[in-house]
């Protein structure tokens, strides 16, 4: 009611003026009736009534909306002021916009995966039903468990079954989800063409909008066409609407009936499905979990039910924050640089407007009113910067995606599906909010400083801003140099590490080997593969190179009493040949020994040194030990060491320094490694074609080993580029900031410089004066930055000591320091050369 009254009153402001004028007129009437003349009456009335304007203003205060009007007029004033000083406005907007663009990019990604709920019906009530125990987690359930869950009408409104499947094609991979028939209805999906699943459907699929566009070129006649998956033909019966792409971690390309799961996962004996349920209204997650507890306990006594929300692609957990914290810190640093830059600009501007502010203060303007006006100016800048930032962030995301698809290993990119990174209202709000906060932060201290009344100077009539050595301004410049140094050092460090990994000698053949893995492999397949003309040889291995780290098992080497963990691998006889691993002593297995599972073993040099330092390992025995926690070797009884091979780098960049390996002969390894002649990519294509023709039921993932290795390195290269880009951005900002500050200093001290030159100082002396200051600031900055970078590096090395991804890299730090230092010096050259050209005559005359 009160607010309504307020609005009504605020809208009727002119009526107030009428009312007050009437009041004053009535006072006049009374005075005249008492005998005063008309003029005297009017004067007296004015004196009694008070200045009309003040009275109206005072009444306006009562309405409580005065601040809105003040804001509006301040904003208009700010726009006019900014339009007068376009360079300042443009620089400030671009600087702040660059920092905000980075923040927006980070937030857009966060929004797409963690914040934005899926575009389905009521996503917040959807939960995946899982059972958890201390060290087991059951995410898939047998069919009858699904039916039992679905029948629990008291907690679930409905539930569907689903299972993700992956089909590798020749030039395109398919990410699919097999679902029960109520899936589409439960999620409220719309079809763009055709229909969804119905009872009685056989081999059918529904395509996603993206898949329809990319694989079928948006063909309007796609309904009825067939898709061959795993050797069976599936008819396309529908295309989903653009906004629907399921609620999995990655968008699906197609949906099929869950009954067809055996086609895709033939090796599973029974049908296992994930269950997603929608909570009945007014049922809480906790209550649902407790209702399911007996069901979980019946399967295994310590299992407890756990409902995981499926409203967004990823659930927010502190882990995510931890993993991304370095990136967030880097972005935060750059944004701070931008704010420091803008703050410096505002400081200089405030000093330049000292005359105007001094006059206002002396006429009686309140200090807080002036500060509000300055902050409003910053707010206008922030709105513009927010818009610019959003635009830049969209460009950056677009460019980043293109860059990724262009530079990452091809196989890697074919498997990656990203959710839409379109901005929505949350991103807009974030951009505006971040812009406002950044601008306020940057403008507050300059506003406070600018309005500090220096009445003595004002009274004397000195409105020209005297040069004030500002510690604050210097601190900002130093801060920027520090950030710049740290980021550049990071970029250099990551770049060098990536180069090291790329050129590292792994001790194995990195090109010309294809890896084939999958279920449904037959001995005929291996035979035919070996017989192909372009295949040199085919080996089998349990743990293929660079796919993952080696697994451990427990053994007792000869001469010891206790069991120790040993990294091991199960390999065929020709593994060493195919992978080009050099023999150091003894011999490798024979085919006989591999087939019969003979009790022999080959060790790596590191393992020989670790087990029997200084002794000859050939002939020594190793006893495998059965354990529950780790892998067990297929061999029973002691193994005899028959050979030693050179160390290899098997696990990729996270290997650490452990190169020990125990090679055990076996033909049961899950990976086939085919050494091919000629170009490996052409060989891969030929292989895939052949496999699709001859062995369509063999679901296999085929890759070149070099792709696998590159995929492990690529994140590092990407991080290096990211660090460089941020570092260069910070450097640009620092240079422009320093340039601006130095220019301002030269301007302000032009009188002093003029006097010096008139008294005989040489131009180089003047240049030296200006440069000295900037070198001093830059020097502090790079020393502090270099120190912080060194400390941070040490900390990271200690934390990641096990995996040894980063090493102490003095040249990288030095590079960062050097570039930042050079940039700082160059930035000051412009203003200082201008200082040298100051003409004492002109400068001393003006005041």
């Amino acid at each position: 009611m009160k607010v309504w009254n307020k609005i009504r009153g605020w809208a009727g402001q002119d009526e107030l003026a009428v009312e007050m004028r009437a009041h004053r007129a009535m006072i006049e009437d009374r005075l005249r009736s008492e005998g005063m003349s008309a003029d005297d009456a009017r004067n007296q009335a004015t004196r009694e009534f008070g200045p009309l304007a003040t009275a109206i203003e005072g009444s306006r205060e009562g309405w409580g909306f005065a601040w809105v009007e003040a804001l509006w007029s301040d904003a208009r004033f700010a726009c006019r002021a900014l339009a007068r000083d376009k360079t300042f406005a443009a620089t400030a907007v671009l600087t702040l916009g660059a920092g905000l663009a980075l923040a927006s990019v980070a937030f857009t990604l966060f929004n797409a995966y963690v914040l934005r709920p899926f575009a389905v019906l009521d996503p917040d009530s959807l939960y995946a039903v899982k059972f958890k125990a201390k060290d087991t987690s059951v995410s898939t359930h047998p069919w009858r468990v699904f039916e039992d869950l679905r029948a629990k009408k008291e907690i679930f409104a409905d539930a569907y079954a689903s299972r993700a499947v992956f089909v590798s094609g020749i030039d395109r991979h398919w990410n699919g989800t097999l679902v029960s028939r109520n899936y589409f209805r439960m999620l409220g999906a719309r079809a763009r063409m055709g229909r969804f699943l119905e009872p009685g459907d056989g081999n059918v699929v529904v395509l996603s909008h993206d898949a329809w566009q990319s694989a079928f070129a948006a063909d309007p006649g796609v309904l009825g066409k067939t898709l061959t998956l795993h050797g069976q033909k599936f008819e396309v019966i529908g295309v989903a609407a653009r906004e629907f792409s399921g609620i999995e971690e990655a968008p699906a390309d197609f949906w099929g009936p869950i009954e067809k799961l055996p086609v895709f996962r033939g090796e599973e004996r029974e049908l296992l499905v994930e269950v997603i349920a929608r909570l009945e209204e007014r049922v809480t997650k906790v209550r649902a979990e407790s209702t399911l507890a007996p069901m979980a306990a019946a399967i295994q006594t310590d299992l407890r039910p756990l409902l995981e929300s499926r409203a967004t692609a990823m659930n927010f957990s502190p882990m995510i924050l931890l993993v991304f914290s370095p990136v967030l810190v880097a972005l935060g640093l750059v944004l701070t640089t931008c704010c420091a830059n803008v703050a410096n600009m505002l400081l200089a501007r405030g000093l330049a407007r000292q005359r105007e502010i001094g006059i206002r203060l002396s006429v009686g303007a309140g200090r807080w009113r002036l500060i509000r006006q300055l902050l409003t100016e910053a707010l206008v800048i922030s709105v513009l910067a927010g818009v610019v930032g959003m635009g830049l962030s969209q460009l950056a995301l677009e460019g980043g995606q293109r860059l990724f698809f262009a530079t990452a290993p091809v196989e890697f990119t074919k498997m990656v599906r990203l959710y839409s990174l379109q901005p929505d209202y949350r991103v807009f709000l974030f951009a505006l909010g971040a812009a406002a906060v950044a601008a306020m932060g940057a403008a507050l201290v300059p506003a406070l400083q600018a309005t500090r009344p220096n009445l003595t100077a004002a009274l004397r009539g000195e409105f020209g801003g005297a040069f004030r050595a500002s510690r604050l301004r210097d601190a900002m410049v130093v801060l920027q140099v520090v950030v710049c140094t740290v980021l550049l050092s990071c970029g250099a460090l990551l770049y060098r590490r990536a180069a090291v990994f790329q050129t590292q000698d792994t001790g194995m053949r990195t090109t010309g080997v294809l890896s084939i893995t999958g279920s449904g492999r037959t001995p005929e397949f291996v035979r035919e593969l070996r017989a192909r003309p372009d295949v040199v040889d085919v080996a089998t291995v349990l743990n293929a190179p660079w796919h993952s780290r080696l697994w451990e098992t427990m053994v007792i080497p000869e001469g010891r009493q206790t069991a120790i963990p040993a990294r091991h691998n199960l390999v065929s006889a020709n593994y060493f040949q195919v992978m080009g691993i050099a023999l150091a002593a003894g011999r490798v297995f024979t085919e006989e020994e591999t087939r019969a599972g003979g009790a022999v073993a080959v060790v790596s040099q590191s393992m020989a040194r670790a087990f029997w330092p200084g002794e000859d390992p050939i002939g020594k025995t190793i006893r495998p030990v059965e354990t529950k926690e780790l892998e067990n070797l297929p061999v029973r009884g002691d193994m005899r060491v028959i050979g030693v091979v050179k160390d290899v780098l098997h696990g990729g960049i996270f290997e650490g320094s452990d190169h020990t390996c125990l090679y055990v002969p076996s033909e049961r390894g899950g990976f086939l490694l085919a050494q091919v002649r000629g170009d490996e990519d052409a060989g891969l294509l030929r292989l895939r074609h052949w496999m699709l023709e001859r062995y369509p039921l063999f679901e296999a993932e085929t890759l070149t080993l070099s792709t696998v290795r590159n995929s492990t390195i690529y994140p590092f290269r990407a991080a290096a580029w990211f660090g460089w880009i941020l570092g260069l951005l910070a450097m640009t900002l620092t240079v422009s900031g320093m340039y601006g500050v130095m220019s301002y200093l030269v301007n302000q001290r032009s009188k002093e410089i003029g006097i010096r030159m008139a008294l005989g100082s040489s131009p180089s002396g003047v240049v030296g004066l200006v440069m000295k200051r900037s070198i001093w600031l830059a020097g502090i900055g790079i020393v502090v930055g270099g120190g912080m970078g060194a400390i941070a590096l040490r900390v990271i090395i200690v934390l990641s000591a096990e995996v040894r991804i980063v090493e102490w890299d003095a040249p990288a730090l030095f590079t960062g320091v050097a570039i930042a230092g050079v940039a700082g010096v160059l930035a000051a050259l412009g203003p200082s050369s201008r200082a040298a050209r100051v003409d004492p005559n002109t400068v001393l005359r003006a005041d």
């Binding site: 009611m1 009153g9 009275a55 005072g58 009562g62």
Partner: protein, 107 residues
């Protein structure tokens, strides 16, 4: 005595009391207070109209346009039921304050 020397809220109480006798316009309220206090309380219009807006926003008076005795267009304020209650409570508070001050002065 200028009304800005009065305790805050006292002015509103005086205005409400004036209006409790009969509805009036701004000038009339100021006149009445001046006359009844025998020129001791002169309300500057810088204080009167803000006070009137405040009590209007709070719903203690209603206002509508009318014509004064001298045929001028004025806004006439009328006390509401809520205003009556407010006046009573303000008077109670004011009286207890005066009593308290008196005790201190007499002690």
């Amino acid at each position: 005595m200028e009304t800005n020397e009065l305790l805050p809220g006292t002015l509103e109480m005086l205005v409400l009391k004036t209006l409790s006798r009969n509805p009036n316009h701004g000038y009339g309220i100021a006149q009445h207070i001046r006359e009844v206090s025998e020129e001791a309380l002169k309300i500057g219009e810088g204080s009167l109209y803000p006070a009137l807006q405040r009590i209007l926003v709070n719903g203690w008076v209603e206002a509508e346009w009318g014509v004064s005795e001298t045929n001028r267009k004025v806004r006439i304020y009328k006390l509401t039921a809520a205003g009556k209650k407010r006046l009573a409570s303000e008077r109670r508070t004011f009286n207890s304050m005066i009593l308290a001050i008196g005790k201190v002065l007499e002690a």
